[in-house]
């Protein structure tokens, strides 16, 4: 065993050549080669279905049930993975290779304390006794940056925050000091500052001499940490190089598409999908955008109350809105003295970590939640609080698009039925005009009108989100609430949906309230930004300058996370 390790320490820790993985005759990974040396971080970037996760899992023989794996070389620390038997493969897993999966809420057993999961790795791969394992577990949790490690070790994943449990999952992956760490989407579903912390931790591991294989769909995640990047699509590596080479001088068209799709750092109104630089925006667009940035720069007052001094284009005004929830005798202030204005043709981006009150604010705006104090007006008239019966005639003026399009549709309804329901709003209309309107709506959101006959389950994620946009438009609203509208989508699809939303706003002069945890999306889409923390808006102002003169520590933290 020691001879094998010594021999391996000279070559790469992971050496994969011509890896082919197929499921029932379908090739999911087709001839992938990659090497990761000790102290190096290699990232595989690709969208869902690109084969990146299967590639990573093949390394520990966990490609999945029914997978046929072959390769001319598949060696980890000098051991040929394909020829390893059950017991020796299990010594490799956890001992030599640590796998860190995404979403620790489900990747750690929800019924067991996280400390037990870490202790299990130690029990399998070390000779430590129970007391030593406990001490080691606490030390590991401290190492991954969990405060109160002793207490946390006794808590279950559901009792920890997203960042805490992701750190605990990393601790269970690195417990036995593996030489290779595979991190499969380790930061998905985490808020940006938390994400940055997890990435720093992985960088630290690499600096200590561990080989790191990072899998991600998000280009911006890997730029700061990876030494080399592989771009995968359809089971093939189409581009390989340093992050700078890949992102600044992409050679393959697919890479270019991916790079263009990243909203972070892209000007408001710039097209994210389709052709990138090849499709310059029209002169009128540019002019319009310039108008916008001018007006956005105008107010010097960072609280942004009554910006521009006029009521022009004001559709919605929230003044001092508060909402308190009583949960088990405790008071949770979900919205605390929240004030903002939505104007025609403009987007207010609402950012903040999960639980900061973004969604409650959206629900207050939609009239789904009763405010304990303050009020929301719509077109200058009272909106919330107001009796639902009096609100109903104007409900159609505010539409909403949610994150999970699939669960917001009745799965038994066809797309046409979903849209017809939104168009008629309970009125009885003649079927002919309704059908025409359905076709028009689908056309507006860039879908084939023939899709009206399909059910949501048979659509792709991007198509579904387009249908929810179409549904939101059906009632001809003036205001749209977009609650994490692209969070569940791949980057290139996300780019298309964002472009669609931007176009619709310009065509229809819509006011958007955009809720997102992704600062890149928020900065790209918003004219104005509001940062929420613990129910309060802690910073508010024009998107172009907000972070430059941010005073609140949380806003600064967010800013630093984007710059990573």
């Amino acid at each position: 065993m020691s001879g094998v390790t010594r021999e391996a320490s000279e070559g790469p820790v992971l050496d994969v050549r011509d890896l082919v993985v197929s499921f029932g005759g379908r090739r999911v990974v087709d001839g992938v080669s990659l090497r990761v040396a000790a102290g190096e971080c290699v990232a595989i970037v690709g969208e869902s279905g690109s084969g990146k996760s299967v590639t990573a899992r093949s390394v520990v023989g966990l490609a999945g049930e029914g997978a046929r794996v072959s390769a001319s070389t598949l060696r980890v620390a000098g051991q040929d993975v394909l020829s390893l038997s059950g017991r020796r493969l299990r010594r490799l897993r956890g001992g030599v290779v640590g796998l860190i999966a995404q979403d620790a809420l489900v990747s750690l057993d929800p019924l067991r304390p996280v400390g037990r999961e870490i202790g299990d790795t130690l029990a399998l791969h070390t000779d430590l006794d129970a007391a030593a394992r406990r001490a080691r577990t606490v030390a590991l949790l401290e190492r991954v940056g969990l405060p109160d490690a002793e207490l946390r070790a006794g808590q279950r994943p559901g009792q920890l925050s997203g960042g805490q449990r992701q750190r605990a999952l990393i601790a269970s992956g690195i417990a036995a000091d593996p030489r290779l760490v595979i991190a499969d989407e380790p930061t998905t579903a985490l808020d940006q500052p938390v994400q940055a912390g997890v990435l720093r931790l992985l960088g630290q591991l690499r600096d200590e001499g561990t080989a790191v294989l990072l899998i991600s769909h998000d280009l911006s995640v890997v730029t700061g940490i990876a030494d080399r990047v592989l771009v995968m699509t359809d089971g093939v590596v189409v581009e390989e190089g340093t992050p700078t080479e890949v992102f600044e001088r992409p050679r393959h068209p697919y890479t270019r598409k991916l790079v263009d799709a990243v909203p972070a750092g892209r000007a408001r109104g710039a097209l994210l999908s389709g052709g990138g630089a090849a499709a310059p925006p029209s002169a009128a667009d540019v002019e319009r955008r310039d108008d916008r940035s001018l007006s956005a720069d105008e107010p010097s007052n960072p609280t942004f109350d009554g910006a521009g001094g006029s009521d022009e284009g004001v559709l919605v005004e929230a003044r001092g809105v508060s909402r308190v929830f009583h949960v088990g005798g405790r008071e949770i202030v979900a919205a605390d003295d929240v004030s903002f204005t939505l104007r025609a043709g403009r987007t207010l981006g609402l950012v903040g970590e999960s639980g900061s009150g973004k969604s409650t604010t959206a629900r207050l705006l939609l009239g789904l939640e009763h405010p304990d104090a303050g009020e929301v007006t719509l077109l200058g008239e009272p909106w919330n609080p107001l009796q639902e019966a009096r609100r109903r005639p104007r409900r159609h003026l505010i539409g909403a698009v949610f994150q999970d399009a699939l669960s917001s549709f009745d799965p038994r309804w066809t797309v046409g039925a979903v849209l017809a329901d939104a168009i008629t709003r309970g009125r009885s209309l003649r079927p002919g005009p309704v059908r025409t309107q359905i076709a028009d709506l689908l056309d507006t959101v860039g879908l084939d009108p023939a899709l009206a006959a399909r059910r949501p389950l048979h659509l792709s994620g991007g198509q579904r989100q387009r249908v929810s946009v179409a549904r939101a438009l059906a009632a001809e609203p003036r205001v749209l609430v977009l609650d994490e509208p692209v969070s569940a989508l791949d980057v290139s699809v996300q780019a298309q949906v964002l472009d669609l939303l931007d176009r619709l706003q310009r065509e229809r002069d819509l006011a958007y309230l955009l809720i997102t945890h992704d600062l890149g999306v928020a900065l790209h889409m918003s004219d104005d930004l509001a940062v929420m923390q613990e129910g309060r808006i802690v910073e508010q102002g024009p998107a172009s300058t907000l972070f430059e003169d941010a005073e609140h520590p949380y806003a600064r933290q967010l800013r630093d996370a984007v710059r990573l």
């Binding site: 899992r57 059950g86 010594r91 490799l92 897993r93 999966a101 990747s107 299990d120």
Partner: protein, 313 residues
């Protein structure tokens, strides 16, 4: 944990409510049955008791009082633990039940344990054995869940007692005597439990945390015992409270077929003899056992799935 005590008190209150409801429903339901209870006490309609004897019995048992007074007296006695006298057995109901309760409780618990073992084994085997094992497993469960107790009892007697001759056809004292009655009750229950378990076992086995456990180097056996079984057990444990109740009602049939002593047989004969106090007493004891068992399964659920505690607090 303060949340635990609060929860337990609340649930104990729930048990008392169930008992009161059971007592009330039995009291009024038995009054709706045609026939004169006084006549029944004297030996049924065929006994041709004289009017004086009937009047005396009515006085003695308070049957001449208004219904509301009878009901309140009855509740008052229950609170003091007095279940009254059995007409048919000529002894206090509590004593009569005490003699029978142990046998039925043993039978129910053994059946429940047996059903769990069968369900676990079948589910674990059929989940891991590929498509054919899956089909066989679900087929067996369906058949097991569908067979009636009396038919199964007969088949088991024919096979084990008459053909093989290894087990007694009627219940004899000792551990051998309980095997066939317990199997009769356990097999259909195992079918139900197995169906629930197999689905949840499959869900658990496909969960990401199982991938994490595999990636940590755990063997499949350890993953089964440490992770998946626990997840799969949650719905089945919940079902066991209900199952225990059905086992006691199943005991009525099984105890008769195997001529086994127990509450089920006592209940049957008490109903036939219109022994109202005994029927009421047995119903109450069964309700109590049922409520306690539900409490126990809820408690077990809180141990297996700590998340339920978090919600309750």
């Amino acid at each position: 944990m303060p949340g635990n005590r609060h929860w337990l008190l609340l649930r104990a209150g729930g048990v008392l409510f169930v008992l009161w409801a059971a007592a009330t429903i039995t009291f009024f339901a038995l009054r709706l049955v045609p026939g004169d209870p006084a006549e029944a006490i004297l030996g049924g309609p065929g006994s041709q008791a004289g009017p004086e004897a009937l009047a005396q019995v009515r006085r003695e048992y308070g049957l001449d009082q208004p219904l509301a007074v009878q009901y309140l007296t009855y509740l008052g006695r229950l609170v003091t633990g007095d279940l009254g006298q059995s007409y048919s057995l000529h002894k206090p109901v509590l004593t009569a039940i005490g003699e029978q309760f142990g046998a039925t409780l043993t039978l129910a618990l053994v059946s429940l344990a047996l059903a769990w073992a069968l369900a676990c084994g079948l589910a674990a085997w059929s989940v891991r054995g590929g498509r054919i094992a899956w089909a066989i497993g679900s087929g067996l469960e369906l058949v097991a869940a569908a067979v009636p107790h009396f038919w199964l009892a007969t088949v088991l007697i024919l096979f084990f007692s008459l053909t093989l001759g290894i087990l007694p056809p009627v219940s004899v004292p000792g551990p051998l005597g309980i095997v066939l009655p317990a199997l009769t009750l356990a097999i259909p229950l195992a079918g139900f439990l197995g169906q629930v378990m197999r689905e949840s076992l499959l869900t658990a086995m496909e969960s990401p945390f199982v991938t994490t456990a595999r990636a940590r180097g755990e063997s499949e056996v350890r993953i089964f015992w440490r992770h998946t079984l626990r997840h799969a057990a949650i719905p089945a444990v919940g079902l066991s409270g209900w199952a225990f109740g059905s086992l006691i009602s199943g005991a009525v049939v099984v105890e008769s077929v195997f001529a086994r002593q127990g509450l089920g047989r006592s209940l049957l004969s008490a109903v036939q003899l219109r022994d109202v106090t005994l029927v009421t007493g047995i119903v109450l004891v069964v309700a109590l056992a049922y409520a306690v068992m539900t409490l126990v399964t809820d408690l077990a659920d809180r141990v297996i799935d700590p998340r339920t505690r978090a919600v309750a607090e």
